[in-house]
Symmetry: C3
Subunit: 357 residues, 3 copies
């Protein structure tokens, strides 16, 4: 069975097909309005995320399917101590496809391991969020006509921002790409992602602390929110949160055909004054996200009986528990300490991929 | 594009048409069961209101359409600091029509300003709640056969009760109307509404503190709940809450063909003993509310491409922020201090319509 | 109008028909996919229960119907003080059938008394939960090919476990049944249920405290969770909660064709190691539950105009309020103290069936 855990589970050819379908959906919505008649999507949101949930729900409804689910853990049996695995096991017997979001890293892997139907990872903690990247690249292709030969700036929280990591991972597979990493030192891109998605692939890149300095060379500016919930220290958050605000003034320094993306929700990191600028594509991006989710749902339902597509790691039971406090192994009951050895020889948790010391 | 912000956005001719359609829906539901096939309604409830939400949802489902949304702000991105404007901007790209409810006055105006599809105001704080009034007048027409020549008593909280203000505003446009205002002094109808909807139109009215004294002359008795959440002082609430309870005994003083309305939910302001009285029409009223919402949804979707129907005020940026603590301008980010000059020359907030000093 | 309050409202012939339909639905889902087109189910969950709610919702969606509702009281008007009766009165005017769950015993009776459409009791406090029993017996029939000549062990919380009481009540109507009651003394089956469903019917039974001792003779092992929320004393809960955990080792003592059932959610009373055992049927049971709910919804909608099927008790207004702190009469406004005299001459509350002293 096919699932979507990580954006890298999809080849660039598959991405091209999804984008092609998404743009056809946008142009001819009636062609698709009954494609999923009599099919049901479950949106299992163990943490709230209206944006993503409503996007999935409208995607399924626009395909003529139906939707059920929950929008927060407090509305689910989790409050009674039920495991994520059991919830997925049961609900996957009720529906045709699942979109799940969970605050713990690796939760989507647990979901895939226990599901009777395709699972789409709609975000598992700070780990992966592949459908946001689908929205990003569809917007880039629609606006720029290509996914190669682009100078891409990513700005804000590059340390915890999973949508940034996912975008870098995805775009690193295209040719002629340059990355410009714009962030305070405290929120710089972690060494692992830098090695994996940039250095190992010999992709040119710059690290710049000032948004003004970085902006003139960019084809794409990917803004992110400095998320309060990712900070351990509230003062640190207060000091940094306004550092990287995109204003109408800064937009004057940018190319005439640069585009601005943002995974949303924004708080104030992009001034609402920028919204009217034709280069502001973040609302367009949410609509592209819907069409890409429609294309993805159709694809996974069609390929339901094909062999599993997600990376099968050569796992074994380790002798230590994963120490990542955000990992699903810390809360899910009776989960084996599954680990695998990565290319560099490090032992990593099979769920959250962090190094197990 | 057409929206519904305030009951006065609809002419009396439009109201007549909606009622006609609503009564036809009641008589022939099958005729309408596919009218909104492939259309989606978003119910965006930034504060909970089951009654209103379920009425809208059942209305859309009975038209063959589908529904998505959220039922409280905690289940939405608002908890992450997102603005109401951004939520509407994004969701209106997913669906065909929006019903929104928000605890802040003026929020529906913000929604309309940022929406790509028709918006129905399902209540914005103490400001407007036009679809309740649609339910009220449909019930009156159905039971009395007319909307003119009626003595209408409104009882309870006339100060904060937005459904009362909306009903007075609406009914003040018909001929032969008399209003009887029944409330404690503390909760009397505010001077602004009295001037605007009664005195300026030379409508006869009485102010009576006793429900028993008022009831014999009425054709319509509109009861309202004394809402705890509208009181600053809990003792004041306790002292007044039982003052205006409608009992079977008081019903004996009323005309044989008087009808009792209530916007619901009730707590104890109408004894359940009254429910069996054929003059008790408040449950009938909820069904009328559903049919009127069906009629309204069809109307707005049909007239989607017609010019905006809501009052375009001659607004300008004021030099002071709106001081109304319940106004959306106090919480929404980067909202200009838009104001307008009313007929008397007062400067009013363009969102909540309160006077900006 | 027909409703489902208690499993005993259905005759064994009706149960046979429901099971036959459920198994046909499983085999031929397409035959049923439009059976409830243009019909709407309301899921009114005054307390959260994801498992049950999603089962009902997927049942209705798989019949081509639609669904609306709420998933907790905080998302409903109950938070504003509205009575359960009014909520049902109003919502039953919007939809074709209702599934309601409420934390108070007797709430489903209040719902039935005020509904304009069929009501399914999806759990009213510790009182009844008939659709879980439908899931149980469908699984038993599917796996064992019969509902008679079975030795049935029920394990865990037999005192508060309403699903156990309901299963015993239901199975006591078949021939060749033996019950094995496995629990700590503190959580033993109450005398009333023992008398009513076992002794009065001369059904052989044993009471055993040890799960290991009991397991070899069983055809069915019905496990239940020791629910934290049912305990007044937290220490008592901690002491007992691990006493009755089903492990792979204990499964080795059981018959090769014994089946394990559980109403779910489980916490840790069945080790996940047991899940892979082919005798573990609790996930299968959730799917049977969906099919039985589909069969039930079709049945009630078809028989909507037939006379009421639930037991009509010979009630009168008692002179004392029901003293059961979990009874709906303690919170619902203006409810008469309706009581009835049972076969032994005890006066019982007409809502929660407890003895009124």
């Amino acid at each position: 069975m096919k699932h979507l855990l990580n954006i890298l589970d999809l080849t660039t050819e598959e991405l091209d097909d999804l984008i092609k379908t998404a743009l056809d959906i946008e142009a001819n919505p009636e062609k698709y309005q009954d494609k999923c008649a009599h099919k049901t999507l479950a949106t299992l949101f163990f943490e709230p995320s209206t944006r993503t949930r409503l996007s999935f729900e409208s995607a399924m409804l626009s395909l003529g399917g139906s939707v059920l689910g929950f929008s927060s853990a407090s509305a689910s049996s989790t409050a009674k101590g039920e495991s994520c695995a059991d919830t997925i096991e049961v609900v996957s017997g009720y529906v045709d496809i699942i979109a799940m979001r969970h605050p713990k890293e690796g939760a989507a892997q647990v979901g895939i391991d226990h599901s009777r139907c395709p699972v789409i990872n709609a975000g598992d903690g700070g780990h992966y969020h592949p459908t946001q990247t689908l929205a990003d690249i569809c917007t880039i292709y629609k606006e720029k006509g290509r996914l190669n030969n682009l100078t891409i700036g990513v700005c804000g929280d590059l340390k915890y921002g999973r949508t940034v990591h996912s975008l870098l991972a995805c775009m690193s597979r295209y040719s002629g790409i340059k990355f410009v990493l714009i962030s305070p030192k405290e929120l710089a891109l972690p060494e692992f992602e830098k090695q994996e998605f940039i250095k190992n692939k010999n992709i040119p890149y710059e690290e710049i602390q000032s948004l003004e300095e970085a902006i003139p060379q960019l084809d794409i500016l990917y803004m992110t929110r400095i998320q309060k919930e990712r900070f351990l220290d509230a003062n640190e958050y207060e000091r940094l949160k306004d550092s990287y605000v995109l204003t109408a003034e800064k937009m004057e320094l940018a190319k005439k055909d640069m585009i601005v993306l943002h995974p949303l929700p924004r708080v104030n990191e992009i001034s609402v004054k920028v919204d009217k600028d034709p280069r502001a594509c973040y609302f367009e991006e949410t609509r592209c996200g819907k069409y890409m989710r429609m294309a993805l749902i159709m694809k996974l339902l069609k390929e339901k009986n094909e062999p599993i597509n997600i990376e099968i790691k050569d796992t074994f039971v380790g002798d230590k528990k994963c120490a990542n406090p955000h990992c699903i192994t810390g809360t899910e009951q009776e989960l084996d300490n599954l680990v695998y050895k990565d290319k560099e020889g490090f032992i990593r948790c099979a769920y959250c991929d962090s190094i197990v010391k």
